[in-house]
Amino acid sequence: MSAPSLIKFAAKRPWLIKLLTPVANWYANAAGYRQMGLLADDLISEENETVLKALSRLPPDVTYDRIYRIRRATQLSLQHKILPKSEWVKPEEDVPYLAPLIAQIEAEEAEKAALDTLAPIRKH
């Protein structure tokens, strides 16, 4: 599953977006994953079918980069260190690469469930 998000609720209310964007940016920086060289999508839990399927659909180079980031972060965590400031992930680099795939798979599943429970209405 993708990370819980209020984005759909907020997207309908431009004033709320305007209000929350600085708070969200502050939160993302304060969470500390960018200092470990991770992207937000690296934090999504892998332990479910949907995410595993989404991971299998990533292009090989993206998968390689993801593994590299996670291993580097694990190493940093063991050493109780963070990256030098020049190597921190910049906010503009922190783009969702996995969430769109998860959304796509969830949409597929939802469509399948909807089609499996169809009740045809006879015309005659």
Partner: protein
């Protein structure tokens, strides 16, 4: 002593049967008129239709994307498996479920020249399926995950089912025509296609192949007015031409021999320069009927020369067919079976049989039977919706006209023993294309069979 009443009864019967024959003839002529497809062009797309006012319709998009036109090996089968997958408008699952709800069948298959996307459905659903086929050819997404999760596995599965008879037929085509028509109909697991076959190349091939000039829409059981209306509105999105190009060459008959060592059953294919689609060579069709192979009647090998040859060899099948393509043809005798010795024996008999036709030692009666068989084959082909549909489409995309059955029938009736003899002689004088697959220790060389290669 014959009673008066019995006599008159007999003559009555004879009279009745003659009038019955007349009625049958009339019906037959009408049927052959109905059986031809009516070609037109709608909004730049070649369309052919025939309508027998039945409750079901078969609608097919026939594209010039068969194995002879693939720019890289394996792309035709890739394109075939990508048919009815996710499009920009709806998912593969939705396509499947919606057609299930309408009680329709969707299928995609290919020949050496054409790729056929076909939908069989109830007559009133024509708009839905016209839209679906147009969408499939112009808006399929060719995504990586579908290729890896669904398409590739199916291709591997089908590859593993390619039997030695099919390999032999492909090999015979390959020695006969080299590139183009010589490309295998389905690559075997040993064929190195994995470096060419990916969703990007398939998508590029689709872009090249699914253009207005490259496709024909053929309908069997749809009214011409309805078809042209829906084709006009839905096939607008199909590009008129594209920058990508398909592989195309003019076929030239080379001939030769090839031998492939493979486990499993044994197969020998003997090929000759045959008749192409447009060519009116009735004697080739009659020769195929005379050599035959499959018995038309129960509990008897029948009159055909090949079935006589196989009758003493259990488990070995042989049959003759002319594979007609737009610019070339391959007349083949295909022999396959479990026992290599049996296949060898039948191959020798088959060559003897065709030589006996060239000698003119075939009784007149058999020639009459062969002409009747050829007439039946032609009419059955044009009537059977599947084969007739593909045939009509293949003619259209190669720039020809759909076959006019009545003309071909007349030509068939003119074939006699002398013409047949001359045709068989020409075949034997030309170079043969011989392919042997299986146990090469036993299977014969073309020279041993007495063929020129």
């Amino acid at each position: 002593m014959i009673s008066r009443s019995a006599l008159s009864r007999g003559s009555q019967l004879a009279l009745r049967s003659r009038s019955a024959a007349k009625v049958a003839q009339r019906g037959f002529a009408a049927a052959s008129e109905k059986a031809s497809y009516n070609p037109t062009t709608v909004a730049g797309v070649k369309v052919a239709s025939r309508d027998d006012h039945g409750p079901t319709t078969r609608l097919a998009v026939i594209a010039k994307a068969g194995t002879r036109y693939e720019p890289l090996p394996g792309l035709t089968v890739g394109l075939e498996e990508f048919a009815f997958k996710n499009t920009e408008k709806r998912s593969a699952l939705r396509i499947t479920r919606e057609s299930e709800l309408l009680g329709a069948q969707l299928s995609a298959y290919h020949t050496r020249e054409a790729l056929i996307l076909q939908a069989n459905f109830l007559r009133e659903d024509l708009p839905y399926f016209a839209e679906l086929l147009a969408e499939v050819i112009s808006k399929t997404q060719y995504t990586t995950h579908e290729f890896l999760e669904e398409v590739e596995d199916v291709i591997h599965l089908k590859q593993s089912k390619v039997d030695n008879a099919a390999v032999a037929l492909d090999a015979a085509h390959s020695v006969a025509f080299h590139k183009g028509l010589g490309a295998p109909l389905y690559p075997t697991p040993e064929t190195p296609v994995s470096s060419y076959l990916n969703e990007g190349n398939v998508g590029a091939f689709a872009y090249a192949a699914y253009t207005k000039s490259n496709i024909a829409v053929v309908a069997d059981g749809a009214s011409e007015a309805g078809l042209s209306k829906w084709v006009e509105s839905f096939f607008k999105a199909v590009p008129t031409e594209s920058q990508e190009s398909i592989f195309s060459n003019t076929s030239k008959y080379h001939g030769g021999e090839t031998r492939i060592s493979r486990n499993g059953s044994n197969a020998v294919v003997i090929g000759f320069n045959g008749a192409s689609l447009g060519e009116n060579k009735p004697e080739i069709a009659v020769l195929a009927g005379l050599l035959g192979g499959e018995s038309g009647i129960k509990w008897s090998p029948g009159f055909s020369l090949l079935s006589k040859a196989t009758s003493g060899v259990p488990g070995v099948h042989a049959h003759a067919a002319n594979f007609a393509y737009s610019d070339a043809g391959l007349f083949t005798i295909q022999i396959s079976g479990g026992s290599a010795l049996g296949v060898r024996k039948v191959a020798e008999e088959a060559v003897k049989a065709i030589k006996s036709v060239a000698d003119g030692s075939i009784p007149q009666e058999d020639v009459v039977k062969a002409v009747a068989k050829a007439r039946f084959n032609l009419l059955a082909l044009s009537e059977t919706s599947g084969a007739g549909l593909v045939h009509a489409g293949a003619n259209l995309i190669s720039g020809g006209q759909p076959l006019v059955v009545s003309d071909r029938l007349k030509a068939l009736e003119s074939v006699n023993g002398d013409k047949l003899k001359a045709a068989a002689k020409t075949l034997l004088e030309g170079k043969a294309s011989v392919a042997s697959v299986g146990d090469l220790f036993v299977l014969p060389y073309a020279e041993d069979l007495g063929l020129k290669v």
